[in-house]
């Protein structure tokens, strides 16, 4: 497991060695606050429902941008061959890269503290839904990351990884949303609703943590990480 720790450290560090991470974080924070604060004083309520409502749509672009590089770059530069010859197991590399990106996401979410701080200074918000919202955001983002990481492993072109990532996450996200369900055959509704990543995000954002949603997100993460490992292995046969 120390291998995983080493990879996490190396990967996490590398985020901050290029200006990209700072640009991402800055963009994310400015955009989320700005979009949220547009309506905040109009609604005049000390809560973060609006912020957590915008979040999935920002993460939809933010996460593939974070993950697109992770495998595609290694492939393009050929460093992946080097990585694979190192005495580390495939799943350790996948896990290391994944956890490093998760750490990066957690840090980004942590840096958004100015928004809850603002609601607390200007009113008396119910802290429960805010904590719940962050737990939900982390779970949702973690699932997006797993999908994004997997997609990045499919290509050596970062732009393609980004576009496929956004598309796949978007599809997985909206498939359980009302406007899709309205037009879906009745027999499929409950299945689609279950698959949709957004439907599981809803109640966490309200401050209700349901064990079913947690199990769902963990399953999605596990599945895509597993796919990622398999995809890596398949390289070796070529």
């Amino acid at each position: 497991m120390s291998n995983v720790g080493t990879i996490i450290r190396k990967e996490f560090r590398s985020y901050f060695d290029s200006p990209v991470a700072y640009i991402y974080i800055t963009f994310f924070l400015v955009l989320s606050s700005w979009l949220f604060l547009r309506g905040f004083f109009l609604v005049n309520q000390a809560n973060m429902r609006g912020w957590f409502g915008i979040l999935p749509w920002l993460l939809l672009f933010f996460i593939p941008a974070v993950t697109m590089r992770l495998w595609a770059e290694e492939k393009k530069l050929g460093t992946i061959e080097l990585l694979m010859t190192l005495p580390v197991r495939d799943h350790e590399v996948v896990l290391g890269k994944y956890l490093a990106s998760l750490l990066f996401l957690a840090l980004t979410l942590l840096l958004s503290f100015s928004v809850p701080a603002l609601t607390a200074v200007l009113g008396s918000p119910d802290p429960g839904p805010i904590w719940g919202g962050y737990v939900g955001a982390l779970l949702l983002g973690a699932s997006f990351l797993a999908v994004g990481l997997f997609v990045s492993g499919l290509t050596e072109n970062q732009i393609i990884a980004f576009i496929i990532g956004v598309t796949l996450i978007f599809l997985l996200f909206v498939v359980g949303e009302e406007f899709v369900l309205y037009n879906a055959p009745r027999s499929l509704v409950s299945i689609l609703k279950f698959i949709g990543m957004g439907a599981h995000y809803e109640s966490v954002g309200r401050g209700v943590i349901d064990s079913r949603d947690v199990v769902y997100y963990v399953s999605v993460i596990a599945f895509f990480l597993y796919l990622n490992v398999r995809a890596l292995e398949s390289r070796k046969w070529k």
């Binding site: 700005w34 004083f41 603002l118 109640s203 401050g207």
Partner: protein, 546 residues
């Protein structure tokens, strides 16, 4: 090599399928055994013990049909979700005996007519589309169906009271016997079920068996009645009081609409009216005002005839209770708007309630209201010179009492039957029955008093339908109260921001949006500079060593 590769490929796919199947299985199991942690301060998403118990005790499948339009304005999407959430919560505790179906009535003419038959109306909603206000028609009703019985919640406007309404509906469709409501007739009570209370009777008959009760024969209130309705009592005899008292003592609940004045046909003057129940109610902590409330702000326009002319005027004697003056925690009134109390007297809760009784004021006038007592001039065109200049305290107009009531006749004799007032003939005073004992204290029960009897008479309910809903709610609350008592209404969650100047807002907005990002960028620059220096040092060291 190709063969080997394809086997490995197949194996790989198979493994992926197995992993997927395992994960699906885990998720299916998790659907059955799960828990929810409600992090909200007021446990908004936690069902009450009453509801959980009622759901657990379901022994047959009950269907909840949600007739919501699919296309709802964005501001109702939360409601839609919250209703879903609540029904999902219901489902988890019902052991599979609660079937929830969603249907948009507009999609199927057959459904639409069924929905209309169930009493679910189409409501008009405002939406903003392409920057234009538009009105759309939508359904927001819920029906609870069991066998051939149905209970409806015509319009769900918020989840505030949805739990109460839903659980009450489930209770009602399962109830084998119909609950009975007795209505006091005779002993000076003028409005009858045929005349004056015809609308009220009809509204009650939708859900209850309505039974007239005449105390003239000396009979007690029928034991099968769960609630007794008394409208406009007029100097009730002691014997009638005794029967009411004993009914309450036996666990029955009392719903009273008293009237402080006696109107005279064709006259604009009125005389005070005493119900005869003042003393008994005072013992229970409810004080009838012996006055009439006038409200210069929250009142109803009324039409008056003068010769051939009909004109409408704001009429301070007809109180129109506004939302902010309705007790938000009591399900009789908290969903209602437009409750009109004509010529109402105050109904006040005692400041220190009698032991064992909890008192709740349900309705108030505005803070501009004042009272008159004595002889009443009801003329709408008079000068209301006695109106106060400054707003004062709101005046209470209805009170609900819950608890164990002390018997008003405890330690007294059973009063004799009064003489027949109608024909004035030989007083037939019957001796007190020997076989009856006096119950001296009640079980937990309820008494609800409204300050206007006119408010549920036909003349008024023809115009003000909300008053009939109020009557139904009150009887529901009195009949099902015990089973539903643990259900609290979910307050509207309102956490407003502090008052702020525009400048302050701009600063707050700026700090929140750019504060942290600036720090992040500064950190990045510092790190970059440090790395550059390190690199330069390393290069210099390398050069030096060469």
């Amino acid at each position: 090599m190709t063969a080997k590769r394809s086997t490995r490929g197949t194996n790989s796919l198979l493994l992926v399928a197995i992993v997927l199947a395992a994960l699906v299985a885990v998720n299916l199991i998790s659907q059955r055994r799960f828990f929810r942690i409600d992090l909200t301060e007021d446990r908004r998403y936690t069902l009450s013990s009453s509801t959980k118990k009622i759901l657990k005790d379901l022994d047959d499948v009950v269907t909840v049909k949600v007739y919501f339009s699919r296309e709802l304005p964005t501001y109702l999407m939360t409601l839609n979700q919250e209703v879903r959430d609540m029904l999902a919560e219901y489902g988890t505790y019902s052991g599979g005996n609660l079937l929830v179906e969603w249907e948009d009535p507009a999609e199927n003419p057959e459904t639409e007519s069924r929905v209309r038959f169930l009493g679910i109306p189409q409501v008009q909603l405002q939406i903003i589309e392409k920057d234009q206000m538009q009105a759309v028609n939508a359904y927001l009703g819920v029906a609870v169906l069991y066998e051939d019985r149905s209970e409806t919640i015509p319009v769900v406007e918020s989840v505030e009271n949805l739990e109460y309404d839903l659980t009450a509906a489930i209770l009602k469709v399962f109830r084998d016997e119909e609950e009975t409501v007795a209505v006091l007739q005779g002993d000076g009570v003028e409005p009858t079920l045929e005349e004056g209370l015809a609308n009220a009777r009809q509204a009650l008959a939708e859900r209850y068996r309505v039974l007239p009760y005449d105390p003239a024969g000396g009979e007690p209130v029928p034991a099968e009645a769960g609630a007794l309705l008394v409208v406009q009592p007029d100097a009730l005899s002691d014997r009638t009081l005794f029967e009411i008292d004993q009914f309450v003592m036996a666990g029955g609940s009392l719903l009273l609409f008293y009237d402080p004045i006696r109107l005279t046909a064709g006259s604009i003057r009125a005389t005070p009216r005493l119900s005869g129940m003042e003393e008994m109610l005072a013992r229970w902590g409810v004080r009838l005002g012996e006055n009439v409330v006038l409200d210069p702000r929250d009142n109803q326009h009324a039409a008056f005839n003068q010769g051939y002319l009909t004109f409408t005027l704001p009429y301070p004697f007809w109180l129109n209770v506004r939302g902010e003056n309705v007790n938000p925690a009591n399900p009789i009134v908290n969903q209602l708007g437009g409750i009109v109390l004509p010529w109402a007297g105050t109904v006040a809760a005692a400041e220190t309630p009698p032991e064992g009784i909890a008192l709740d004021t349900l309705l108030w006038s505005s803070s501009y209201a004042w009272t008159r007592a004595g002889e009443y001039d009801l003329n709408p065109q008079q000068r209301f010179a006695d109106a106060p200049r400054e707003p004062g305290a709101r005046l209470p107009l209805a009170v609900a009492a819950t608890g164990v009531f002390p018997g008003f006749f405890a330690g007294k004799e059973i009063p004799p039957l009064p003489a027949d007032r109608e024909d004035g003939s030989d007083p037939t005073i019957a001796p007190p029955p020997q076989d009856r004992s006096i119950i001296e204290s009640s079980d937990t029960t309820r008494v609800v008093v409204f300050g206007s009897g006119n408010m549920i008479l036909d003349d008024m309910t023809n115009q003000f339908r909300a008053n009939l809903v109020l009557l139904q709610n009150a009887v529901d609350w009195l009949s099902f109260g015990d089973e539903l008592i643990a259900i609290r209404s979910r307050g509207v969650s309102d956490r407003p921001l502090r008052e702020m100047s525009e400048r302050g807002k701009t600063i707050a907005r700026f700090l929140t949006t750019f504060g942290v990002p600036i720090l992040v960028v500064l950190f990045g620059l510092a790190r970059w500079i440090r790395r550059r220096n390190l690199r330069a040092e390393a290069l210099a060291a390398m050069e030096a060593s060469e």
